[in-house]
Symmetry: C2
Subunit: 127 residues, 2 copies
DNA sequence: CAGCATTAAATGCATTTGCATTAGATGCGA
DNA sequence: TCGCATCTAATGCAAATGCATTTAATGCTG
């Protein structure tokens, strides 16, 4: 229990730190920015802000600001939702798609290095 | 690899959030404060700030401030180190010890709940 | 012994985050 | 239809964190 927590804590700290440095230096992205970009790419469609909120581990307000940053960087665009004008769609731009494609190998490399000693994907961690 | 990362991310977010709320509401402690207190108790001796730095997942500056908060709350005391006057010893006070004893069950309860579905301690996670 | 690189801890500062609140849009019930 | 509870997203604000710098103490080298 507590050992598992310590494992999570250690891996999280190390991975976050490294992702921050690598994604930041190489691509000018923070881990949160990459995460959001990645979610949109994987869905491959415009998403409501709220849908993203369920998938990313950020508060609603933090997500709102991440998207604002991404928009300022022209990596995503916000579009009004016609059917419910409270909602906002987030669409990835070609630049955003390119940036994601460029950063993905970096992301993968960092995780591969850090979880090299981790249990196989088939292992007990799959929950 | 990436699945493991997602697992870590999810558990970390959930546990941190819950710890923040439970430790905060019940004992007026943040997760970092508890972590530091816990380290000192487990060592059961005064520690150099730097020693703590290696064990806690915080930057040196963040740790310095956590200790400052704990000192203001009278849960630890800072003592000069005679042999190397750059160093600072952190000692737990009786109040600090009591607070830790009081918060420990809360900490344990939160982790138990969140990692109830986790692999057994003997499992692959032990690294 | 003098000078300088190194180390420990604290602090200035910018950034990110979460909570609470706000502003605007929906929609349900009287 | 009107009014009110609900919902979405944005924003004010305070707190925590990391990086870079600072201050003070060591200690190594010439």
């Amino acid at each position: 229990m507590v050992e598992t927590w310590h494992y999570v804590l250690a891996k999280h700290a190390k991975a976050m730190c490294e992702l921050e440095r690598e994604l930041g230096d190489r691509h000018g992205l923070g881990p949160s920015e990459f995460e959001v970009l990645d979610r949109i790419v994987r869905h491959d469609r415009k998403l409501r802000l709220q849908e993203l909120c369920d998938e990313v581990h950020l508060s609603q307000s933090a997500l709102s600001r991440v998207v604002a940053r991404l928009e300022k960087a022209a990596l995503v665009a916000r579009n009004a939702c016609d059917s419910d004008r409270r909602g906002v769609f987030v669409c990835i731009t070609p630049e955003g798609r390119a940036k994601h494609a460029e950063a993905l190998p970096t992301h993968h490399a960092v995780l591969t290095e850090i979880f090299a000693d981790a249990p196989a994907p088939e292992g007990a961690l799959r929950r």
